[in-house]
């Protein structure tokens, strides 16, 4: 008894917080459009107490020892996390086990997929990790949803969470879809090649089977604006029709048509057959590209108003990205157009390369085969 008193003396002396942090785990749950997944980082120190990791009792936990316990750890942890949608429990499937470090402590990492039987409705979760071991344990939960990311500290007294499925705020919707629209164009190589192929000859005039440079910058700029705007209007139109489910086409057909559009646009630079009808062409195939964009916006599950906002923002994002490309492209092309290289090299041979690439896409997409080798 006396020994115990002396032990507590120092606690009585002050309120030191000189220690490590308390026990915590880092849980990231990603409820994005592209499938639900999770990553859970759990401190080895806690796991060692709960299920025992140090096989040879040398006070050191090695990767080999951790690997040995992976099945146990995964089962232990995932059985202490319940995710439900519309009152039906979702299934968690482990994908991989890794290691992480937080504040100089080692954590076991479980990466897992989440499969919910219901595809709509409120998401709820219950967290009971180490509730039988540590009353001060905290789960640092980050939930990622299409429009929001939320941080929640889960504890013994606050171990349940309902993820609000309330409609997203207009502002986040706008910024998010502006970004998605712009990224989609900038990372979609087929859309880019189509556009650039159409824009390359804009800085030149075609007379009597000859290129000439007798065209003003403002004329060129107007032509660029016509092409990009026609493209945007067209794909906006089909995008709306698809999202509101008024029309639908099979994906392989659309993908093949997009490849075909790139081939035609590129061939125009080798054997020019359109000079004044480029914007009409951009409009016609813009309709096709619109079907391609629609993939991104499938399964939005938003109200009509929010869907309209999302659509408008997405289209505006695409248009901004197009204008940024045009703005970067136009002065350079306008400057280079007087060089023979531009007329005799870039146009025909660039056109040919793009045609070959697009031809491969066309074959691959129409046959649904992978023959690229890259």
């Amino acid at each position: 008894m006396r020994g115990f008193i002396f032990l507590l003396l120092i606690t009585a002396a002050s309120t030191p917080s000189y220690g490590h942090q308390s026990s915590n785990s880092y849980l990231v749950l990603d409820f994005s459009d592209h499938g639900f997944s999770g990553q859970w980082d759990i401190a080895l120190r806690d796991l060692d107490t709960a299920i025992g990791l140090d096989i040879n009792d040398d006070s050191k936990i090695t990767w080999g020892e951790l690997k040995h316990s992976h099945v146990n750890i995964t089962q232990y942890a995932l059985s202490r996390l319940t995710i439900s949608r519309a009152h039906t429990r979702c299934d968690t499937q482990p994908i991989s086990n890794k290691v992480n470090n937080h504040n100089n402590s080692a954590y076991a990492v479980i990466q897992f997929a989440i499969h919910c039987p219901a595809d709509q409705g409120e998401l709820t979760l219950k967290y009971t990790l180490f509730s039988d071991l540590d009353s001060r344990h905290q789960g640092l939960l980050k939930t990622i949803q299409p429009q929001t990311t939320q941080l929640t500290v889960l504890s013994a007294t606050n171990n349940e969470l309902t993820l609000s499925t309330a409609p997203p705020r207009i502002f986040t919707l706008v910024t998010s879809f502006l970004d998605q629209g712009a990224s989609h164009l900038l990372t979609g190589i087929d859309h880019l090649l189509f556009l650039i192929s159409l824009l390359l000859p804009v800085v030149l005039l075609r007379n009597a089977n000859q290129w000439n440079t007798n065209i003003s910058f403002s004329q060129t700029a107007v032509e660029v604006l016509k092409i990009t705007t026609a493209f945007t209007l067209a794909h906006a139109l089909t995008l709306c029709l698809v999202v509101f489910e008024l029309i639908s086409l099979p994906t392989p057909l659309i993908e093949s048509l997009i490849a075909l559009s790139v081939i035609i646009a590129a061939s125009n630079n080798i054997y020019p057959f359109m000079t004044n009808q480029r914007w009409q062409f951009a409009f016609a195939f813009g309709l096709v590209h619109g079907f391609g964009f629609a993939n991104v916006l499938q399964g939005l599950n938003l109200s009509t108003l929010h869907t309209v906002v999302a659509l408008l923002s997405f289209n505006l994002g695409v248009e901004i990205a197009q204008l940024a490309i045009a703005a970067a492209f136009l002065p350079i092309a306008y400057y280079l157009r007087t060089y023979r290289f531009y007329q005799r090299g870039l146009l025909p041979f660039g056109g040919l390369s793009v045609m070959i690439i697009a031809l491969i896409w066309l074959i691959e997409r129409s046959l649904d085969l992978d023959i690229r080798g890259f």
Binding site: F4, F6, L9, I10, T11, A12, S17, W63, N104, A328
Partner: protein, 404 residues
């Protein structure tokens, strides 16, 4: 014509590059700590504290198994809880307070729990700055068992931290009839030394210390730490140094002692000695802060690394709102990041939690640095109302009151 187009095109070109870069940053900017797969099975991921492990032969394991078999047996549960509190102190890992509290769960909602449960629960709540709950438990315990010396002692410590030194002193006086003279005098001297009676407290404790040797080492170390702290506050640097050295010789791993001693050395600008004391204590956050302060002064090559580590730790606490020490966070902003406004915010929040002399001084220092003397008025009033007096505190108050 060529000339007319150059200027706008450049601007547009630059703008589009800026846009593209922004977009790229937006897309890639959400990186987090990356999980990895170690290269070999032999790689050591975690070294458990020496003082405990979960081997089947260990005390920890045996106590835990006994508890798992009889979780509502108070004797077994308090034995395990006490063992975990011991672990927390020795390893500096505060998770064990949570383990200890979990062992006491069956009595969670019981005001009239067994005395040992109440005492341990108070100790744990104190650790998490839940002072009111801790006092509540201690008062219940003392009503039933007025001779529980540890309860009086813990109560005194809590009242001291809450900014009631005179109330703390009363607890120490009630303790006097139950414990050794050295423990009682240490308790009392610590309390009254912050009420303007520092000289008297020092000489009284020193006399008792000399007359009652040799008591248990823990009692000696505690008395010496209090003696050193009072001497330091009185400006008696030589004696403070001597008491700290004596205490350290007795207990070289005592976290609280090292914290006090290193603060003293830092204030004396004896950074080399502070570094020697702290350099191998980087796993205890409070001590890491002091090491970073020392390394900054010494321009040590590890300074940036340790500073960043502490910074990410504090940032994470701020992000989640899981603060473990607002006092340390404030001091970090004040002395390392040179951000007096943030330091003041944290010092103010810290002062709302705990009002020890150190906390009041920190708030005043931050208020002075941030040039916001008004932010310290409540703390000064509190100090005057509760008789908290100290040389340096008086100096800080004078500084603030002379600010136009």
């Amino acid at each position: 014509m060529h000339h007319t187009i150059k200027r706008p095109s450049k601007t547009i070109f630059l703008l589009s590059i800026v846009y593209a870069l922004n977009l790229a940053l937006f897309v890639t900017g959400s990186a987090k700590a990356d999980a990895y797969i170690p290269a070999h099975d032999d790689i050591v991921l975690e070294v458990l504290p020496k003082s405990w492990n979960n081997a089947k032969t260990s005390t920890t394991y045996q106590l835990r198994q006994a508890w798992l078999n009889a979780p509502s047996n108070a004797t077994i549960a308090t034995r395990l809880a006490r063992h975990y509190i011991d672990n927390a102190k020795q390893s500096g890992d505060t998770r064990f307070y949570g383990y200890a509290e979990r062992a006491l769960n069956p009595w969670k909602h019981e005001q009239t729990a067994p005395p040992q449960v109440l005492l341990l629960r108070a100790t744990i709540n104190q650790q998490f700055h839940q002072f009111e709950q801790a006092l509540n438990d201690l008062d219940h315990l003392l009503k039933m068992h007025p001779n529980n010396e540890q309860a009086w002692l813990t109560r005194a410590g809590i009242l001291q931290v809450m900014g009631y030194p005179l109330e703390a002193a009363k607890s120490c006086l009630l303790l006097a009839r139950l414990t050794t003279p050295l423990v009682a005098t240490s308790c009392l001297s610590r309390a009254v030394s912050t009420t303007g009676l520092a000289e008297k407290a020092y000489s009284q404790l020193l006399a008792t210390y000399r007359n009652t040797r040799p008591p248990a080492i823990n009692q000696q170390v505690w008395a010496l730490t209090i003696l050193a702290d009072i001497a330091h506050r009185l400006g008696d640097i030589n004696n403070a140094q001597k008491h700290y050295s004596d205490a350290l010789a007795l207990s070289p791993e005592n976290t609280l002692l090292i914290a006090y001693y290193s603060d003293f050395l830092i204030e004396q600008k004896n950074f080399n000695a502070a570094y020697q004391l702290l350099h191998n204590k980087i796993n205890r956050n409070g001590l890491l802060l002091r090491l970073v302060i020392t390394e900054k002064a010494l321009k040590h090559p590890d300074y940036i690394m340790h500073k960043n580590r502490l910074n990410s730790l504090f940032e994470e606490e701020t992000q989640w709102g899981t603060y473990t020490s607002l006092r340390d966070q404030s001091r970090f902003h004040l002395t390392i990041l040179n951000n007096p406004h943030k330091a003041l915010t944290f010092a103010t929040r810290n002062w709302q939690q705990q009002k020890e002399l150190t906390d009041i001084k920190l708030l005043l220092q931050a208020a002075i640095a941030a040039n916001k003397p008004a932010a310290s008025i409540k703390a000064i009033q509190w100090a005057q109302q509760h008789q908290i007096k100290d040389k340096q505190l008086n100096h800080l108050i004078a500084l603030i009151q002379n600010t136009p």
